[in-house]
Structure formats: structure tokens, C-alpha cells
């Protein structure tokens, strides 16, 4: 029991920090660069993403294990997973608008962006590839989401500071953001080898 718990914890840490989606797996870059200009949006996005990722991981795990594997439909995983994500996002959108308009006002805008984002679809795909069990899938989804939120928060805070900086012309905007990310990724390589999965 304890061993399993440690494994879940390791999986969580590995997904959030060591194999951080942005800095070592290069996923979710569009959103990462697009939405990390302002702190508020970055945080809102982080929260929305984390929750959607966990739920998408759970739903697609259930679907994968109880429908796709028994009926030998695993070759359709791309179609089915994107369908699940899109359907869930749509449902969340509708429900949030009805139940909690305040929250919808804050986070709803990001929901629309989610279904065309690679990290949401990557989580179920990696879960299926690695044959994680239910809890492991959840831990992986949660870790990935939190790791993504952390990286966006860091990036937003740095970019807010960079607004004051006198960056040379051709580097303004996107290029300097990429170079900043390169340097953060360089710092994150320090975590390499921390956990072997």
C-alpha cells in the first residue's frame, strides 16, 4: 500500500516538474506562449486546464479500459479521446454557464481554447500508452496540469517584468519569450535524474 502511494507521488512529481509538459515534453506551447502575457489569465488558464485534464484523464481511462480494450477498438483512440475531450468541454461550458455564471465569466473564455490544445489530448494518449491504472492516470493528469499551471505562472511573471526591458528590436515579443523559455528549460534540466519512472 505504501509502495503504491509512493509510486503515485513519484508519478505526480515527475509529471509536474521533472518531465514538465512545457519544458521537457514541449506540449501546450501555443497556449503557453499565447496566454502567459498577463498573470490573471495565466492563473485562470492554469486552474481550468488542471481540472479539465484530471477529468479528461478519468473519463478516457474508463472509456479505454471498459469499452475500447474489450471491443478491440484501441486503434480508434485518437478519434474517441478527442471526442471525449470536446464533449466534456462543451458540457462543462453549458453547466458552468447555468450553475455558476461568476466562475464562467472568469474561466469560460479559456474553455473554448481547450479542445484544440495538445496537452489535453496528450494526457489520455500517454496514459493509454503507458498502461497506467486508474489512480495513476489521475495522478498523471493532476501532475501534468499543475506543472503546466506552474510553468505558465512563472512565464507570466517574467513577461510582466520583461515589458519594462529594452529588448533589441528583432527580439521583441515572441523571440525573447522563446529564449526565456530556453533559459528556464536549461534551469529545469537540473531536475534530470531525480526520479526514474
Amino acid at each position: 500500500m505504501e509502495k503504491e502511494f509512493i509510486k503515485l507521488f513519484e508519478l505526480f512529481i515527475a509529471a509536474s516538474i521533472i518531465n514538465n509538459f512545457v519544458f521537457t515534453r514541449f506540449l501546450g506551447l501555443c497556449i503557453f506562449f499565447g496566454v502567459s502575457k498577463k498573470m490573471e489569465t495565466a492563473i485562470g488558464m492554469g486552474i481550468t486546464f488542471t481540472s479539465v485534464m484530471v477529468i479528461a484523464a478519468a473519463l478516457s481511462w474508463l472509456m479505454f479500459t471498459y469499452v475500447m480494450v474489450p471491443f478491440d477498438l484501441t486503434f480508434l483512440k485518437i478519434v474517441i479521446f478527442i471526442g471525449i475531450v470536446a464533449a466534456f468541454v462543451q458540457a462543462a461550458d453549458t453547466i458552468m454557464r447555468k450553475v455558476s455564471p461568476g466562475l464562467y465569466y472568469k474561466l469560460g473564455v479559456y474553455l473554448a481554447l481547450i479542445s484544440t490544445n495538445c496537452i489535453i489530448i496528450a494526457v489520455p494518449l500517454i496514459n493509454a500508452e503507458e498502461h497506467y491504472n486508474f489512480l495513476e492516470s489521475l495522478a498523471f493528469g493532476l501532475g501534468s496540469g499543475i506543472g503546466f499551471a506552474i510553468s505558465m505562472t512563472i512565464m507570466a511573471s517574467i513577461r510582466e517584468k520583461l515589458e519594462l526591458a529594452d529588448v533589441p528590436g528583432p527580439f521583441r515579443g515572441m523571440p525573447i519569450a522563446w529564449i526565456t523559455t530556453a533559459l528556464i528549460a536549461l534551469a529545469f534540466t537540473g531536475f534530470a535524474g531525480l526520479i526514474t519512472l
Binding site: F75, L76, V79, A192, G193, T196, L197
Partner: protein, 195 residues
């Protein structure tokens, strides 16, 4: 939403699913046997490479074992019905990944060949365990000499410079443990046979 709309949406979905389903089923039917065959072929080739002397169908699976809770297999290699050695697949905990190793031993339990099937060690350092110069160092080593030293050595395994952790993983956690397991497993089999 009019009845016409509903009809159109339904028709849309039906057509898309039917056309898409047919297309995917067709591609799947074409590719899946190839994927399956190639997987099998690759595995056989990898095994044959470990034991070039063995007969074409002479490499037979003996059983499964679970180093680091991962699924691995071990095999016996025969030539003209006579056992000429064994092949063991194993996993070792490396620097930043589990290293998937395949190695073969003769009937004297000295290592013949090793191969790294999968690893994700540090480029430029740890991943040199996959290079021939390191893999060659294993030839002829028995259980007692599967030990990593950091100096040039013919007797033991010399570590890759600057990558002691990866070298040690392959040698001690991987091949040595695999060999220990093999010897034990074979003994158990013998006992069973005698009964």
C-alpha cells in the same frame, strides 16, 4: 430548430461516421497485420542477433520474470536440439530511465553479447552505454566479474567516463541480476524435472 435541421444533422453524422468508419476500417485492416508481423519479426531478429549460431526456430521462450515490476522474458537457444545458451531480457534502473537490456550467455554462463533495447540516459554521457565500445566490454564476463570499475580494466567492466551511474546500472542492476536470476530459475527447473 426545424425538422429539416434535425434531419440534416442526423444525416451529416451518419454519413461522416459511415464514411470515416469505412476508411479507418480499411486502413486498419491493411496496416494492423503489418504492424503485428513487423513487431514479431523485429523481436525474432533481435533475439537471433544475440545468438547467431542458434537454429532459425531454435530460440524458445522459457518464461517471464519481473525485474523492477516490469515484464521481461527469458529464452533458451538451441542448435540441432542441443542447448547452446540462454538469452535474458531485463530492466535496470539507470540515471534517468529504466534501461531495457537483452543479453545472451553460453552454457558456461559467461556473457556473449549484450544489447540495449531502450534507454533515455543523458545524451553525450550516459547514452554511450548503447555504443559498441561499451557493449563489447561484457564479452566473456562471468557473474564474479560483472562489476564496474572506474579504471581501465580487462578483468572487470570499465565504466563509461563520466557516466558511472549508467554503466553500473547496466552491469550490476541489469546483466548481473539477470544472470543471477537465470541460474536460479534453471536450477528450479531441473529440480522440477527430476521430480
Amino acid at each position: 430548430m426545424t425538422a429539416k435541421d434535425i434531419f440534416k444533422i442526423t444525416a451529416n453524422l451518419v454519413v461522416i461516421y459511415v464514411v470515416g468508419g469505412l476508411l479507418l476500417a480499411f486502413v486498419y485492416a491493411k496496416t494492423s497485420p503489418i504492424i503485428f508481423l513487423k513487431n514479431k519479426q523485429e523481436k525474432e531478429e533481435a533475439l537471433q542477433k544475440m545468438m547467431p549460431n542458434a537454429d532459425k526456430k531454435g530460440i524458445i521462450k522459457l518464461g517471464d520474470w519481473y525485474p523492477h515490476d516490469k515484464d521481461a522474458e527469458y529464452f533458451v537457444a538451441k542448435k540441432d536440439g542441443k542447448i547452446i545458451g540462454y538469452i535474458v531480457q531485463t530492466f535496470a534502473k539507470g540515471y534517468s530511465s529504466y534501461i531495457n537490456i537483452l543479453f545472451s550467455v553460453g552454457t558456461d554462463f559467461r556473457v556473449k553479447k549484450i544489447d540495449i533495447l531502450h534507454s533515455a540516459e543523458t545524451p553525450g554521457l550516459g547514452d554511450e552505454i548503447t555504443l559498441p565500445y561499451f557493449k563489447k566490454r561484457f564479452r566473456g564476463k562471468d557473474l564474479a566479474h560483472l562489476k564496474v570499475v572506474k579504471k581501465p580494466s580487462k578483468e572487470y567492466i570499465e565504466a563509461v567516463t563520466g557516466a558511472t551511474i549508467s554503466s553500473r546500472a547496466v552491469t550490476e542492476d541489469g546483466v548481473r541480476k539477470g544472470l543471477e536470476f537465470l541460474i536460479k530459475a534453471l536450477k528450479k527447473r531441473e529440480v522440477k524435472h527430476e521430480q
